[in-house]
């Protein structure tokens, strides 16, 4: 029994770690979404965190906890001068400007010879333990849960629902948006620092547009109206390829295309039929049931 569990753990250790890392990334997108801002620079922040931590442990020989602190702090500090001009831009333009920022970071790393350009940094010591990742996820969830229903939580919801109206209520909206951008950058950087010290290597192309799209998809598929929705989305979508790998031979489609196809269809189904994400599924089912019962009793 225990042996089997240990086997299972060994096989899926990496998947379990990535559920946690991806949860942090999904939460990093959620922070800005919670005040209505679609900011997509988080692949860039994650890269900054990953590179900062890797360089500090390998070149400066910092102890791992300090390097992880730097992975949190450096992107958070970068987010301030980025956010001040960029957060004045709204809607889809903010998304594009922040995507632009992410690409600038990635391409800057590609052209930086000191960190081996496109090859990236290899042979990073493996220091990340699963408990560290999940402790971080728990801490992030705790902070977000405590914000909800507080004065600041209501201010964020007000900004999401109607920013100009929120401003007339005395809410300094720019500060709140900046705070959330900084928090998101910190979480993304933390995930990057963990990932670098888990997979032995970091390379710029791991932090491209596709990566930030993944983060957004986790958050939206899980549900971006509530703080734990992104974690549900990250867990589901990180597990999905593992499941599909087992299923692929049975349906006769190559695992690669099948994974993409199912990802696409799940995403489409959620956005069309579950606007509030997977976390709203139980309520939706209850509503459908109630509607059916009502229809039957009317008949």
């Amino acid at each position: 029994m225990w042996d089997q569990l240990a086997d299972l753990y060994a096989t899926y250790q990496s998947t379990i770690a990535f559920i946690g890392i991806n949860s942090l990334l999904a939460l990093s997108v959620y922070t800005t979404l919670s005040c209505g801002q679609l900011a997509l620079g988080n692949a860039g922040f994650s890269a900054i965190g990953a590179y900062a931590a890797a360089l500090l442990t390998m070149q400066a020989h910092w102890p791992f906890p300090l390097a992880i602190l730097a992975a949190v702090a450096v992107p958070a500090v970068v987010a301030v001068p980025l956010g001040l001009p960029v957060l004045r831009i709204r809607g889809i333009f903010l998304a594009i400007a922040t995507i632009g920022f992410g690409e600038v970071v990635r391409l800057g790393l590609v052209n930086w010879d000191y960190v081996n350009g496109a090859q990236g940094i290899v042979a990073i010591p493996q220091k990340t333990e699963l408990w560290m990742i999940y402790l971080a996820v728990a801490a992030a969830l705790f902070v977000l849960a405590r914000l909800r229903g507080s004065k600041w939580g209501f201010a964020l919801e007000a900004i999401r629902e109607d920013e100009p109206a929120a401003r007339t209520m005395g809410i300094a909206t720019t500060r709140y948006k900046l705070a959330m951008l900084v928090l998101g950058a910190a979480l993304a950087g933390l995930a990057g620092g963990f990932e670098a010290h888990f997979t032995f290597m970091v390379a710029p192309n791991g932090f491209g547009f596709g990566r930030v799209v993944d983060m957004l998809v986790y958050a939206v598929v899980g549900g971006s109206q509530i703080y734990w929705g992104p974690v549900v989305g990250a867990a589901f979508l990180t597990l999905l390829p593992e499941i599909l790998r087992e299923v692929a031979p049975l349906v006769g489609i190559e695992p690669g295309p099948l994974r993409l196809l199912v990802n696409g269809l799940v995403l489409l189904a959620v956005i069309l039929f579950l606007p509030n994400g997977m976390v709203s599924l139980p309520r939706r089912i209850a509503e459908w049931r109630a509607a059916r019962v009502a229809a039957r009793s009317a008949a």
Binding site: L38, P85, V86, R88, I89, R90, G91, I92, F93, A95, I96, A97, I99, G100, F101, E103, V104, L107, G108, V110, N111, G117, A118, F209, G210, V213, L216, V217, V220, I253, E254, G256, P257, L258, R259, L260, L261, N263, G264, L265, L267, L268, I271, L272, P275
Partner: protein
């Protein structure tokens, strides 16, 4: 130098075509269609199959592939955009549903054509070279620029001079006002998607011919550049997109020549980022698009 300009214009005409379609949908719906690059890719594969498998002449295969792309646009509109139109957050949810469709398209391409690079058969386009004011120009490059220019002209005529074009512009201005004026809004939006995707498809076929390298992820390389172009040109502005497409093409060619290929995208995206922060309406954009 002259050679650089020729190469830049040639690359720019493809970017311009791609961005023109992108910006058309944005102008009408204020939504980014992230599946545009996937349509670009699928059209390229379809042209390849028509030429390679069915031995059609490229001049016949291309219009068919473009038509196919147009129908993909109709499909996109029906499945990914129309159901969301009433939603308050339709510009975020539309972004995601179009991304979902892009993923599905890419999965189809992977399954049908495989992950490797495919190429047009040798001699699809004659490989003769001409000398133009000291620059070497291949017949292919000339054809591509000619097709692009022809499509700009057709599109301008379509939008400016036809009833359908007027309806599309009316919807872009204000869907509500257009409906009051008796415009069939759904039809106009569908038309915009058809034209937009057809242009994206044309860009894809030309891109495939130009670099003779077609793969399921080829859209990725133009996706973000298309964004850069429509920002530079002012979101929703068609002449802006064309100008900006050429500007990007020239920039890329010159940066590659003088700084090296690895700096090409870095320069473009730094430019994009700075423009968005300093001048969000774009370099050539007229209307202020930042919400008051």
């Amino acid at each position: 130098m002259g050679q650089q300009v020729v190469n830049g214009l040639f690359l720019g005409s493809i970017y311009a075509l791609f961005a023109l379609g992108y910006t058309l949908v944005f102008g009408v719906l204020d939504i980014l269609n992230l599946a545009h690059a996937a349509v670009f890719m699928l059209a390229s594969f379809v042209a390849l199959t028509l030429v390679g498998r069915f031995h059609l002449h490229i001049l016949l295969a291309m219009p068919l592939a473009v038509l196919f792309a147009g129908f993909l646009g109709l499909l996109l509109e029906r499945v990914a955009f129309r159901p969301l139109r009433a939603r308050a957050d339709s510009n975020i949810s539309g972004l995601i549903s179009s991304l979902a469709m892009a993923t599905v398209f890419e999965a189809v391409a992977l399954e049908v054509w495989g992950p490797n690079i495919s190429r047009f058969p040798f001699g699809t386009v004659p490989e003769t070279q001409l000398d133009l004011l000291g620059a070497v120009v291949s017949r292919l490059q000339l054809t591509i620029v000619a097709v692009a220019v022809l499509l700009f002209l057709v599109l301008t005529w379509l939008v400016k001079a036809t009833r359908l074009g007027r309806e599309v512009r009316a919807v872009a201005e204000s869907p509500r006002a257009a409906r009051i004026l008796g415009v069939d809004v759904n039809r106009a939006i569908a038309a915009a998607f058809f034209i937009s995707s057809a242009l994206g498809g044309a860009a894809g076929v030309l891109f495939g011919l130009a670099f003779n390298s077609i793969s399921p992820d080829m859209g990725r390389s133009v996706e973000l550049k298309g964004l850069a172009v429509i920002i530079l040109g002012g979101m929703g502005s068609m002449p802006g997109a064309v100008l900006a497409g050429f500007a990007l093409g020239l920039t890329e060619v010159f940066v590659t020549a003088y700084l090296g290929a690895s700096w090409r995208d870095a320069v473009s995206f730094t430019g994009l980022f700075l423009i968005l922060v300093l001048r969000p309406r774009g370099l050539f954009g007229a209307a202020a698009l930042r919400e008051a």
